[in-house]
Amino acid sequence: MAKLNINGKVHDVEVEPDTPLLWVIREQIGLTGTKYGCGVAQCGACSVHIDGTVQRSCSIRVGDVRATDKIVTIEGLSPNASHPVQKAWATVDVPQCGYCQSGQIMAAAALLAKTPKPTDKDIDEAMTNICRCGTYQRIRTAVHTAANETSRT
C-alpha cells in the first residue's frame, strides 16, 4: 500500500514496496507518458519531477516515496502543453520518434526552473537523457528558445 501525490492528485495504490515508481505510474496509476527505456537510471526516459527536482523514476522504490512528495509527470507539467519547454519543443520541431521526449522535456523544465538562462555547458550537464533518433542539436536549441521565451514574459 502506498499513498502517492501525482500531478496534484492523491492516489492509494496496492503494490509491493519494492516496485519502481515508474511502473506504479504506468501500471497502477495508468499514466503512460513516462517511459521505460532501461530500468537502470541510464537513459532518463522515465524522468519525473519530485518536489521540483528531476528524478529517474525507474530506480526509485515506491516504498521510498513519501505521501508528501509532490510527483509531477509529463501529463501534469502544464495544461494544454503550455509550458515554455513544450512550446519551444513544438517551435523547434524537436521530436522524431518522440519516445524519449517526455523525459527530455521534464529534464529541460527542471533545468530552467533552477537555471532560467542556462549556458551550453549547463545544458550539457543537465540534459543527459538518451535520444536514439539524435534530436540533441534541436534539444539544445529548444532549451535556449524556452529560456528566452521565459525571460521575455
Binding site: 509491493e16 519494492d18 516496485t19 519502481p20 511502473w23 504506468r26 501500471e27 497502477q28 495508468g30 499514466l31 503512460t32 507518458g33 513516462t34 517511459k35 521505460y36 527505456g37 532501461c38 530500468g39 537502470v40 541510464q42 537513459c43 526516459a45 509527470t73 509529463i74 501529463e75 507539467l77 502544464s78 494544454n80 502543453a81 513544450q86 519543443w89 513544438a90 520541431d93 524537436v94 521530436p95 522524431q96 520518434c97 518522440g98 519516445y99 524519449c100 521526449q101 517526455s102 522535456i105 545544458i123 550539457d124 550537464e125 540534459m127 543527459t128 537523457n129 538518451i130 535520444c131 536514439r132 533518433c133 539524435g134 534530436t135 540533441y136 542539436q137 534541436r138 534539444i139 539544445r140
Partner: protein, 732 residues
Amino acid sequence: MKKIIRGTAATLSRRTFIVGSAAAGGGLALGFNAPFAAGPALAQGNAATEVNIWVAIKPDDACVIRVVRSEMGQGTHTGLAQLVAEELECDWSKVTLEQIGPGASLARKRVWGDMSTGGSRGIRTSQDYLRRGGAAARMMLLQAAADEWKVPVAELTVTDGVIKHAASNRSTSYGKVAAAAAKLEPPDPKTIKLKDPKSWKVAGKPMKRLDTADKLDGSKVYAIDVKLPGMLCAAIKDCPVFGGKVKSYDEAKIAGRPGVRKVVKVGDTAVVVVADTWWRAKSALDALPIVWDEGAGASASDATIAAHLKEGLTSAETNGDRKNGDALKAIADAPKKVEAVYSTPFLSHACMEPMNATVRLSADKAEVWAPSQNIEATLAALSEVSGVPIGKCEAHRIDLGGGFGRRGGTQDYTRQATEIAKQFPDVPIKLIWSREEDQAHDFFRPISQCKMSAGLDADGNLTGLHVRVSGQSINALLNPGGIVGGKDQRQLQGFWEAAGDAQLGYTVPNLLIEYAMRNTHVPVGPWRGVNTNQNGVYMECFIEEVARAAGKDSLEFRRALMSKHPKHLAVLNAAAEKGDWGKPLPPGVHRGIAQFMGYGSYSAAVAEVSVSPQGKLKVHRMVLALDCGHAVNPGQIAAQVEGSVAYGLSATLYGECKVKDGRMVDLNFDTYEIMRLAEMPKVETVVVPSYDFWGGVGEPTICVVAPAVLNAIYAATGKPVRSLPLKNIKLV
C-alpha cells in the same frame, strides 16, 4: 454510370496477391496497380468522404491524407502528406493524417500496396502514386464543381482547396463538392500530368511535422502503452546463448508471488511469466531459476569470431567480387604499396522503445498492436502463429519508438506474443522485453573485417586497389534468396559498379573487391545504413591512408578519382566548401573528409575534431552534404542528417556488442554506452538537390560520419584508427 474523366477508367483487375510466411523480407508480396480507386469510405464515423484511397475530405474542408508507411521518427508521414497535398492543392493547415491498417487494405484487395518501411524507401517508392493520387483527387473535385456549375472544368482554378470560376464569380470548396467528386470515375493515372518539382509550394518546403503535438504532453500511445480490458502482461527470457534451448525451470520457486498467472514456455528457447502487471511478471521471471541447454554456440567468444573472420581475409574462395584490370599485379608492381586491416563490431539497434507486442486472440478474430516497420509482415506473423485466417486478423497501426531496421520482417516479438496469447483465449497479452532482453536478442549489425591494399605509381597516383571484406552476411540468415550462385552482393553495398543505388564513386584502373562470407551463431540484420556503414569506414579511411602515403591533400586525391562520378563529386565539393576545407582552423582542431553512397543518395562529410594531450576526443562540428535528388522536406532532411550523426557517432565512439560464452555481454546502457547531448557536435546540413532522381534520406548520410571523424583524428594524431569503437583505442 460513372463519369470518366480524361481517358479510360482505371483498371482494377490484374492484381496478384500472395500471402507468405517469410520470416525475412515480410510476409506479403504483390503486383499492384491503380493506386487510387475509390471505394467505400473507411472512416464512416468522422464524416469524411473518400475521394480516393489517399484523400478523404470532411464537410469543413479538412483534408484527411492516408499514409501506409510506418512512422518511427523519420518524418515520412509528413513528407508523404506533402506529396499528396502538393498535387491536391488543398489547404496545408487543414491536413490531417490517417493510417491504414493492413487488414483494412487486404479487405480491399490490398489497394494501398506495400506498407513496409525500410531501406530509406518510404518517400522514393511512394512518391509517384501519391502525387498521382493527389492530382486525381484534385481533378475529380474540380470536375464535380464544373458539373454543378455546368461550366468547362478548364475554366476553374483552385487554391488552398477553394475552387473558383472567375467568369461567373462563383466559388466553392473541397468540402462542399467532395461527395459529388467521390461518385466520379477516377482519371487514368497515366494521363495525369504532375507538377514540375521546381514549382512545388508545399512539397519541397520545410514544413513542420504533422505528428508532434502528442509527443509533447505524454498523450501519444506507443505499442508499449496499449491498455485493453482484462489485459495481462508478459516478461520473457530467451536462451542467452543463440541456438540454445530451455532445459528446465523451477516454477515452484515463484509460486504465490503477487499477480502471477502462469509460466509459459515459448518454443524450445524461451520462458515467459504472465502476470497482472509487467513489473510483477518481470520480477517473478528474474526470481525463476532456469536451466539452459546452451548448445554449441556457448563456446563462441570475440576471439573465436575474430579468428574466423581473419581467416576470410586471405581465403581462396570468395562470395562475390567486382573486378576490372589486374589489381593484384598492379599492386605487386607498384613502387609504393599501402596495406591496412580494419574491423567493425556487432552493434545492437537499441530502439528507445524496447521490443513489445500486444495480442488478443478469440475464436474468430486475432489482433496485434506492435511497433513494426513492416505491418503486413506483422499481420502475416499473427495469422501464421495463431492459425486465424488472415482475413480475420488485424495489425493496428501504431507509431514506433524508434526502428532503425530492427522491427522489419522478422517480427520475432509478435510471434512470441501470439504464442503466449494462444494460451489465454480472449485475454489481451502484452509482451514487453526488458532492455536486457532487447540487448541480448537483437538482429545485430554484422561484424566484419577488411583487408585493403593499394599500389601507387611514382607520381602518387592510385594504380591498383584490392578490397577484401570478411564478415557475416545478413542475407544468409534473413534472405537466402538474395545470395545468387554463392555471391552475396549486399555485403558489398557502396562498392558496386552499377549506378543508381550504392555505387563506388571512384574510378581505379585496376580494382578487385571481394567478399568472404564468414557467418557466426549471432543473428544479424539491417541496422540503419546497413553495410554502407562498415564499407564506408573501410574505403574512406583507407583512401585517407593512401592519400597521405601519396603525399596528397585528402580532398584533391579523392577528386582525382571521381571525374567519372559527377554526382558523388558535386556532393563532396559541397561538403568541402561549406566545411571550409583548406581554410585555417583554431589551434588543435583538425579536419577529416569522407564521401560514400547508399540508398540512391550521395553523401559527404567534413568533421572538425580535437584530441587532447591526454587523448580525449572532441568532435566540434560536422558538415554533411546530401544529394537525394528531390528534397521533399528540407527541414526533416536536416533532422535525419542530424540524427544520423548522433546514431553514427554513438557507434563510432562507443558501439560494441561483445560476445562471451556464446552470449551478448553488454545488456544495458551502462556498458552499451550511448552518446549524450554533451558530445553532439554542431551539425550543418547542405542539401544539394539535383531534381533528376528520387533517393533515400533516413540512411544515406550515416556512412560518412565515422570515416570523416576517423580521418580527422588521423589528421590530429598522425595515426590511423582501424578498429571501432574509439573507446577501445588509445588516441595518443
